[in-house]
Amino acid sequence: MTDAWTHLREFTAARLALGRSGGSLPTASLLDFRLAHARARDAVLSRFDPDQLAATLRPLDPRTSLLDSQAADRAEYLQRPDRGRKLDAASRERVLTLAGNHDLVILVSDGLSTFAAERQAPPTLAALLPLLQTDGWQLAPLLIVRHARVALQDEVGALIGARLSLILLGERPGLGSPDSLGAYFTHTPLPGRTDAERNCVSNIRPEGLAPAAAARKLHALLTSSRELGYSGYRLKDDTGPLLDPPARSVLT
């Protein structure tokens, strides 16, 4: 039985007026939901190939280098967020060899969505890097990190000697958004920085904040952060709507 209020769907992306058989979901609605969940699961679980992504990004930065967090595999990554926030020993060594006088270091990671890193990071960087280069930013080599969490960029930024540190990584997939990328940056990165000291641009995907628009927003925010000498909640975004609201309490 279809519902008489399918017209209400124009007001929201919520799964309204799904219809019913008795009180239960029609078959099409049930399978629709299952497909969305399957895509989200694939985004979380599909194997991340850093070499492949590096090959895609090398035309943008031939110095692109690969790193690993302390999370050995996907299952450990999901259960031990602390290990995703730290580099493994070999990667630490590699980063130290890259240390210098950098304005900005940019990291890319699969995070919670391999699809997001593969699909959104290349177009975002393709738009962002020329904007920064035109302004004369001294960029550290682009770094691809397997299984990273937000905050890992602070350790890397401190080791490599960068004034600002930016990470692009896959966000926790929603049912309708398996490939959404998040961007987080810190001024004067150091281990132990809090969420309040970072800025975030989220929902980067063609159906949300398109990669080119996200690059413009990041460019404006990074520029403003460099001028003011800090990042975090005090930093305002003049390019459009204000920054994303602070991270929600886990319970609300």
Binding site: W5, F11, A14, L16, L18, R20, G22, F33, R172, L175
Partner: protein, 471 residues
């Protein structure tokens, strides 16, 4: 007034098992190691190191007298107001029937034929969260369901929630930008599916008084226009809701997320004093027609660790301590948002199901109107079938209310909960009906067929679809 015992001089617990001698440094450690396996306790470094050590801890815990939990506070009273609240509110007379028991005997007492709802309600003020958490750790899932089922906790604001044979639903009409028409559309979808008796409750995308006031007025208009016997809530921070009340906005229920330690509550920006003040303001509004349960609390295992305020305790014990905070304020609804926190605290469907049953049992035993957000995130090893299982078990256990999200997909918080359809499954499977006042309204509005508990066909001309809220 109780004199608080100094937390020095704690004793260690030992158990010889075959050739192995197990030692647990203190009661806190014993509880943590006895807790059924979950990723959050492993992350905190408090979990048992092996499956055998876990059972050894459970065996030793079964022999611990219930009184020990009064004598050895897990978190010192001097540094934690939740501990002080627990000790101050403990009722020795109510405790009497079980005062001589150890944890294992207490489990058996809970499961006796003779121990009925009245006996459990009488003993509740004598139980502390730690006693209840302890016994839950040695109980199987079926024990948790059976014991919880004996307890009915009834609360009232504009309707009567928690009666036997009833299941209520919160309509959760969230929208990523708080768009009023988008939210109204989801509310109507829920009402037309016979849901919304627990509360119509919105998680706002923007937590400020002006934004919340718009949502409060929207819901108040719908509830008034159609004379719906239910209540509304914007799940904003308590201080935001207090500002709304000061400005004369139509606040029915005061919401707050709470946790089981003072430090975790501080990280949420709250204290017992603040909650007391907020409740006083809501009571003064006098908006409830049938009762004065004006608070709505949400909890969830792992929140203390997430706030770095766990004091070396396991997450399930701390969750039970949050219920001591809740019961201080006679809430209308307490909701454990069990699977929202993610796989680093509850890894998979098995852990989420177990935690949901523990929370429901512990809350009910402490006398709370427990509901459950049966839910999971996309990075947890869980799916809709796991939620069907937990939903069914909680239904059998007599859960007061569940969430109703359009199609189970919360497009603002990005996780999966239960749907309006899920509530009809549970109502049919177990013969459960909505709150009586709301049920009568559904029949009056011809949303339910007059034979009861079944959805009637709805025409495009239905009064709710003419609502100005979406016109």
């Amino acid at each position: 007034m109780l004199k608080f015992q100094a937390s020095t001089g704690v004793m260690a617990y030992h158990l010889a098992l075959g050739g192995t001698y197990h030692t647990f440094a203190n009661l806190r450690t014993l509880l943590a190691k006895a807790s059924p396996r979950r990723s959050g306790d492993e992350l905190a470094g408090v979990a048992a190191a092996s499956a055998e050590e876990r059972v050894a801890a459970q065996m030793r815990l079964a022999e611990v007298p219930l009184r020990a939990f009064l004598d050895e506070p897990l978190i010192p009273a001097e540094e934690d107001e939740v501990t002080r609240l627990i000790l101050e509110r403990h009722d020795p007379a109510a405790f009497q029937p079980v005062a001589g028991m150890c944890v294992g005997e207490f489990r058996e007492w809970l499961l006796r034929y003779e121990t009925d709802g009245a006996a459990l309600a009488a003993v509740a003020p004598g139980l502390t969260p730690e006693m209840v958490a302890a016994v839950s750790k040695i109980m199987g899932n079926q024990d948790l369901v059976l014991a919880a089922q004996k307890v009915r906790v009834t609360t009232r604001f504009r309707n009567t929630l928690g009666l036997p044979g009833r299941l209520s639903v919160r309509v959760q009409p969230n929208h990523p930008t708080d768009d009023p028409r988008g939210i109204a559309a989801s509310i109507l979808d829920g009402l037309l599916y016979g849901c919304g008796d627990a509360v119509i409750g919105i998680n706002p995308a923007t937590d400020d008084p002006a934004a919340c006031a718009k949502l409060l007025r929207l819901m108040d208009r719908i509830i008034t226009e159609y004379a719906i016997p239910t209540q509304s809530c914007v799940l904003a921070h308590v201080t935001t809701t207090m500002q709304c009340m000061e400005r004369g906005e139509p606040v029915d229920l005061v919401f707050q997320s709470i946790a089981g330690t003072e430090a975790a509550n501080r990280s949420f920006g709250i204290s017992l004093e603040l909650l007391r003040e907020a409740r006083g303001m809501a009571l003064a509004l006098g908006r409830g027609t049938l009762g004065d349960n004006v608070m709505y609390f949400e909890t969830g295992q792992g929140s203390c660790l997430s706030a770095n305020a766990h004091h070396g305790c396991d997450q399930q014990t701390l969750e039970a301590r949050a219920y001591a905070v809740a019961r201080e304020f006679s809430p209308l609804l307490v909701n454990t948002v069990v699977g929202f926190i993610g796989p680093e605290y509850l890894y998979d469907g098995k852990q989420i199901i177990r935690a949901g049953l523990e929370d429901h049992f512990c809350g009910k035993l402490l006398g709370l109107p427990m509901g459950c957000d049966v839910c999971y995130t996309n990075h947890a090893e869980a799916d809709q079938d796991d939620m069907d299982t937990l939903l069914t078990l909680l239904g059998v256990g007599g859960v007061n209310f569940i969430m109703g999200v359009p199609g189970a997909d919360d497009i603002m918080l990005n996780y999966q909960s239960t749907s309006f359809h899920d509530s009809h499954y549970l109502r049919q499977a177990l013969g459960l009906r909505p709150a009586p006042e709301f049920e009568a309204w559904l029949e009056r509005m011809k949303i339910f067929a007059s034979r009861g508990n079944r959805l009637a066909p709805i025409e495009r001309q239905h009064a709710l679809l003419a609502s100005a809220a979406v016109a």
